[in-house]
Subunit: 165 residues, 2 copies
């Protein structure tokens, strides 16, 4: 079981977009270069975020991406579901209804205990992701990044985004 | 993100093996037919369970599979890890260390907040799976199965396994 690799990129891009001053948009090329990613790969991830109403894209000379909603209103679960999909990791194929013990489908009224237990565990995972917002990720990034990396990053982004005015 | 489909088969097979009287082993062909599965697919799953010390295989005329440990000592997490692997679903590639903000690797002393949050959520999922044992799954199966399916299943398994003595 492996999550779409774009989830990591999306979370980091969301941190950058949440830290961009109001009125500025960040081009995809800047987000890609900042994280050392291929623009063509990142484009798909950003499109998924746009479809989920997490980012909005604008076109034109000052175009680029910005968050569609305030950072405290976007959770890590929103990002995971947007990029990795909404489907459960555990897919029940109802093998219990196969073979020599099978009875009429209508008699199996509820999902079986195995599937329910698997899905309850996934709910615990989703609830944990839903408790962290993009605003929390910004705070963690500020707390965890080496001071020199923060300074270099802020200067570079400021130049790239600021010079577009 | 999709879990290995063998996890469902493995959980159902574990329920059957936990319900088999002491001293009897259940052939792979019986487990496969009972769940309507291709024996060649199920073989791989059972081998994974054997490698993880969840089942043991015996050969010979009365050979087959049985649980390697008592059912209350095997958790659903054990089964998931055996069949789907031990790796985290979220793989951090440290994109934060790429691009124009990069500083010396040694300055990034800990995993970043995004990866830590993702892994904490996976821990919540694993803890939920670890709280359910194969003995619990047996109880759920007895509770949730249609009475006719239980009767047909027990009769068929009793004939298949019992006639081997």
């Amino acid at each position: 079981m492996k999550m779409n690799e774009g989830v990591e990129w999306a979370a980091h891009c969301a941190v950058i977009l949440a830290s961009t001053p109001e009125g500025y948009a960040t081009p995809m090329s800047v987000l890609a270069e900042f994280h050392g990613l291929r623009p063509s790969y990142l484009a798909k991830t950003l499109q998924a975020l746009a479809r989920a109403d997490i980012v909005v894209a604008s076109t034109g000379k000052l175009g680029g991406y910005r968050l569609a909603r305030p950072a405290p209103e976007i959770t890590l679960l929103d990002i995971v579901m947007a990029v990795d999909g909404q489907q459960r990791a555990f897919r029940c194929t109802e093998v219990r209804q196969n073979g020599p013990s099978a009875v009429k489908r209508s008699l199996y009224s509820r999902s079986c205990g195995i599937a329910e237990t698997m899905w309850r565990a996934e709910d615990a995972w989703r609830e944990a992701l839903a408790r962290t917002t993009v605003a929390d990720l910004v705070a963690m990034t500020l707390r965890d990044s080496p001071a020199d990396a923060l300074e270099k990053g802020i200067t570079w982004l400021g130049n790239e985004i600021g010079r577009r005015r």
